[in-house]
């Protein structure tokens, strides 16, 4: 059983040697690549066509456009430039989002440590790190909620402009996936407190949850680069 050191005992032999459930999770993640890839593509298509503030990054608009804007949004474009254009400040808060990105990255570290604990017969370590992963995930969600509310108060919502629509849909569905992940992890944690914990396949169950969790993290890696770091 040397080669199966990390894998939990498999129910019955499979044609490839990989457990059915693990294969299922990887194929599902492949489909999720398409899901988030499509959302990101739609975001990019509209990113190039932004005409009306609020904008994600700093951008100039004409005076005539400025005059058509509602007051709340005009506040973002208060700066007048020498060439007669107005400068709108970008609505994205890079420092804050960098922090939340760091938090999510840290949650991936916590997750691998939880998996390590589960696979090496250390339930205490497993439980602690599952909890920490979930808490970090909730922290990330907290940042998202803060960001959404801040944007809302500055006049950016789903209906405002194309950036609003594609931004909230993309990050909203990502956040939903994080939320589902948190529920998944907390469910595992709760189950681990039963008499025989997560059973003989504990390592496997936590590893599978880890696959999902890391995937949600790497989607964020792409989203963070595409939305926040790459300028318009």
């Amino acid at each position: 059983m040397a080669a199966e050191a990390h894998a939990a005992p498999v129910h019955h032999p499979t044609s490839t040697g990989t457990d059915n459930r693990k294969l299922l999770m990887w194929l599902f993640l492949a489909s999720e690549c398409l899901f988030f890839g499509t959302l990101i593509s739609a975001f990019l298509v509209f990113k190039a066509r932004m005409a009306v503030p609020p904008f994600p990054h700093k951008r100039e608009i004409t005076e005539s456009l400025y005059s058509t804007l509602p007051e709340k949004i005009q506040e973002q474009c208060a700066t007048q430039l020498a060439n007669g254009l107005r400068e709108c400040h970008g609505i994205l808060d890079i420092p804050i989002t960098s922090t939340s990105t760091f938090v999510l990255l840290g949650s991936s570290l916590a997750m691998v440590l939880a998996v390590y604990g589960a696979q090496h017969g250390r339930p205490g370590m497993m439980k602690a790190w599952i909890l920490i992963t979930a808490l970090l995930g909730l922290t990330f969600l907290g940042f998202q909620v803060y960001e959404f509310r801040t944007f809302g108060s500055e006049g950016l919502n789903l209906a405002t402009n194309q950036f609003g629509a594609s931004f909230f849909v993309l990050t909203g569905f990502h956040g939903t996936h994080v939320g589902v992940g948190v529920v998944y992890l907390l469910s595992l944690l709760a189950a681990s407190f039963r008499r025989n914990g997560l059973g003989p396949e504990a390592g496997f169950h936590v590893e599978t949850a880890g696959l999902y969790w890391h995937f949600v993290d790497i989607v964020w890696i792409v989203i963070f680069t595409v939305i926040y770091l790459i300028p318009s």
Binding site: S15, N20, L24, L27, S31, E32, G37, V52, S166, A191
Partner: protein
């Protein structure tokens, strides 16, 4: 081959409604899919007959314009999502585990869940007729689907219904992909798999990769309609063409998802009744894989008239022409199988063989569309309607009927009546040609699709009347099938394990199989294992004392399906329903996870 008597439980000992509601047995789930799919096939057929009645004469007065729009939209949605795909799923469910020598699929409860999601999604979509059914065509081009063009919830039914059905297909496709990759009997290597199994594997991959872009499109449509976004509304920066891309990135692989399973079916039927192995097995497999890959590279051929730039147009045109090549390889291989064979033209074989020329006709009109300048004349005319019905009705449906006649004895232990079968076949064969061939003429004569009537002086009346007569002929043929089923089911089971002397593993067990499929999991030594064993005098292995564990029944799949339905109903009624659906889902998922599986 005799099965062990007495000790092992036989299929059908569990009876009663609850046993069906909680079943996780792939054979029962397959039966449920088949019955439901056939019912919706009739529904879609009635929608078609209403359409044909309205179009039979100029200035028709059978249906008004409003209802007509709903009928042609729902006819397509019903046939594609509620009839053809689930019929294929019925065969996957029934036959895939048997053909690979497994006792069930990889995830039996998820298998049941796929069925319940399909049933509830189908009911949701069809119930829209009580209000306003989707009326913007099955591909629902924006911005006509947006709220400013219609006050009804028709397109919300569309989006929510398809989302539910999409989840059903996602679950099923993942399940079958894992099953085929991971649960083959010892000796069943990938290149010994029956072609039907290969086609199933390919479309499983197509499904779980192609559905997400559609999901994104549907979600964005829902957001446009309910949350005031402007993804597809030009007046706000949106782009209706984006919808078309998102839809067709799914939509094109979808049509291959519709046709590859029937191609797989006839790849089983033709060798069996030619008494010869399939010609060019490897080419068949690789052609199928090639079609799967290339189906991703042709989607914009549905958009040639939307103002694409010349370079993309040329690329999509070239790819569309190229995809005819692997398809052609399959056609020649079926012919090569029959050549020199000892052919038996029973009903199953008639349906299978007729697929070849009929699908070819559809393929020819398809390749004609692949040229953008020619397609400019075809777009939105009856020429396209002719093409798609040739490939889907004269092709896919005929292939499905071949499967029905071929596998009916395995599923029920009884052979369908051949006399009634011949009436069934010939009426359908005449029917599809008389209905759909004239549509080529109507198309080049300029008749647009989706019009609810036409004026007297258009000179379209003759071929429309012909097509209508054909459609009723087709319906009559299907009626013969229904009669055949009822007549046959009243007889005693007498088919035996392998009435066709067929080569694949599903015929190595009783008809119908016991709950555990095989008393002994067969050892596979070659492709066409039963012919190999027969020709080498190898007797089936005797049953052992080894205990067989089958997964116990469960009510969590149907409960989860109900929870999903509640989520979908909220936006159509009150969000309180969605909110109540969440605890139902959580309860189902937790119960499912904690339930013992043996």
């Amino acid at each position: 081959m005799a099965t062990a008597a007495g000790t092992l439980p036989q299929y059908g000992t569990h009876s009663g409604l609850w046993s069906w509601i909680t079943t996780v047995d792939h054979k029962r789930i397959g039966t449920m899919y088949l019955v439901t799919a056939f019912t919706f096939f009739i529904v879609g057929g009635i929608e078609a007959l209403l359409i044909r009645s309205q179009l039979a004469v100029p200035n028709g007065t059978v249906i008004d314009a409003e209802l007509y729009n709903q009928l042609f939209s729902m006819h397509a949605l019903t046939m594609i999502f509620l009839a053809v795909m689930p019929m294929a799923a019925a065969f996957f469910n029934w036959m895939i585990p048997l053909m690979i020598g497994a006792r069930d699929v990889a995830f039996p409860r998820m298998n049941a869940l796929s069925y319940w999601l399909y049933l509830f999604g189908a009911l949701l979509l069809t119930s829209s007729f009580f209000f306003t059914a989707p009326n913007s065509g099955w591909f629902a081009y924006a911005p006509l689907t947006e709220v400013q063009y219609g006050a009804s919830q028709a397109m919300d039914f569309y989006a929510l219904g398809l989302l539910m059905l999409g989840v059903s297909s996602m679950a099923a496709s993942l399940n079958f992909a894992v099953t085929i990759i991971n649960m083959r009997a010892p000796g069943m290597t990938m290149m010994r798999l029956p072609v039907f199994v290969w086609m199933t594997l390919i479309i499983a991959f197509l499904l779980f990769l192609a559905l997400p872009p559609l999901t994104v499109g549907l979600l964005e449509l829902l957001f446009d309609r309910n949350f005031e976004t402007h993804f597809f509304i030009p007046d706000g920066g949106g782009d209706p063409i984006l919808w078309q891309h998102l839809f067709w990135v799914f939509g094109h692989p979808e049509v291959y998802i519709l046709i590859l399973p029937p191609m797989g079916i006839i790849s089983e039927v033709i060798p069996t009744f030619s008494r010869k192995p399939l010609f060019g097995y490897s080419a068949m497999v690789f052609a199928g894989i090639a079609i799967g890959f290339m189906s991703w590279a042709v989607w914009s051929h549905h958009m040639f008239t939307t103002g694409l730039n010349p370079v993309p147009r040329a690329i999509f045109a070239a790819n569309t022409m190229l995809i005819g090549v692997p398809t052609g390889i399959k056609i020649f291989n079926w012919l090569g199988t029959m050549y020199g064979g000892n052919i038996k033209f029973n009903t199953a074989m008639l349906f299978a063989v007729s697929f070849i020329p009929l699908f070819t006709i559809g393929g020819i009109s398809g390749v004609m569309h692949s040229s953008p300048p020619i397609d400019t004349h075809h777009q939105d005319t009856y020429f396209v309607v002719a093409h798609l019905h040739y490939v889907l009705v004269a092709g896919a449906i005929m292939g499905m009927f071949a499967g029905l006649y071929y596998w009916f004895p395995k599923m029920t232990g009884r052979l369908l009546n051949e006399g009634l079968g011949k009436w069934n076949f010939w009426l359908m064969f005449v029917g599809v040609n008389v209905t759909f061939f004239p549509m080529h003429f109507l198309g080049v004569a300029g008749m647009p699709r989706r019009i609810y009537t036409y004026a007297d002086g258009m000179a379209w009346g003759f071929w429309n009347m012909t097509a209508t007569i054909g459609s009723f002929t087709l319906a009559l043929g299907i009626l013969f099938f229904i009669i055949n089923v009822f007549v046959t089911l009243r007889k005693e089971p007498n088919a035996g394990d392998n009435p066709w002397d067929a080569p694949t593993l599903e015929w190595a067990t009783s008809s119908p199989p016991p709950e555990h499929d095989f008393d002994v999991v067969p050892a596979v030594r070659a492709r066409d294992p039963l012919w190999y064993d027969r020709d080498h005098g190898i007797a089936p292995a005797p049953p052992t004392d080894e205990p067989i564990h089958m997964p116990p029944p469960s009510y969590y799949p149907i409960l989860l399906g109900i929870g999903a339905l509640m989520l979908a109903l909220g936006p159509l009624s009150s969000m309180a329903v969605t909110a109540l659906g969440v605890p139902v889902i959580l309860y189902s998922v937790w119960g499912w996870a904690l339930e013992p599986t043996h």
